[in-house]
Amino acid sequence: MDVLYFAWVRERIGLPKETVATEAETVADLVAELRAREERYDLAFSDLSALRVAVDQELTDFEASIKGAREVAFFPPMTGG
C-alpha cells in the first residue's frame, strides 16, 4: 500500500510517499512496523497524540483496520482556514 506523510511528519521521515509491503491489520500495527525500521520513523511516531491518520483519504483512528486499504496517510492536526 502507499503510505503518505505530510507537514512535519514528511520532513522528519524525509519523504512524502512510499510503497510499503505489510501484513499489518491496523494502523497501530503499521506504525509499530514503521517505528522498528529506523530512528527517523521512531522519532516521527513517538507521540501518537500529536498525529492524525487517514485511511483511503478518510480520517480515522489508530485502531482502524487497514485490511485491503490502498493508502494510509499520517500528518499533524490540520490547520486550514
Binding site: 503518505l4 507537514a7 490540520m78
Partner: protein, 148 residues
Amino acid sequence: MRIVVQGTPFDFGTEAEAFASGRHDMGAIVTFTGVVRDFGNGSLDAMEIEHYPGMTQKALEAIAEEARSRWSLGDVLVIHRYGRMEPGEKIMMVATAAPHRKDAFEAAEYLMDYLKSRAPFWKKEHATTGETGWVAAKDEDEDALSRW
C-alpha cells in the same frame, strides 16, 4: 455548490459578486475570507500551505454537504488556496446563500470551524529571519467543533 482548491490567487470581489448575483429567493449572503496575517512587527515573510491533494476536495465537499443538511441553504462556495502566500494575501473564502441570515451566518461559521480542523491543510510560517515553523493546531479550534 462550488468547492475549489487552487494554487493561484482568487479575486474576492469577483467571486463574492458572482456568488451573490442572480438570486431572487435568497435573502442573505454571508462571506468570510481568511487573510495571511503578519505577527504585527513585519517579521512574517510568507505563509506556505501544504495540502493532501487526493483528500482535500472530498473533505471540503463532505463538510459543505453536512452544512447543507443542517441549515436551509441555497448555495455554498468554498475556495481554499495552497502554496506560498505573503502577508495580506487571501488564503481562502467561504460564502453561503440562504433565504434568511441566521442560516447563512451559522452555516458560514460551521464551515469555517470544520475546515480549520478537518480539512487536510497545514500552514508553515516563514519568518524574515529565515526561520520556519509549522503552525500548531489550537485546542480552541478543536473545542469549537463541539458546539455543533
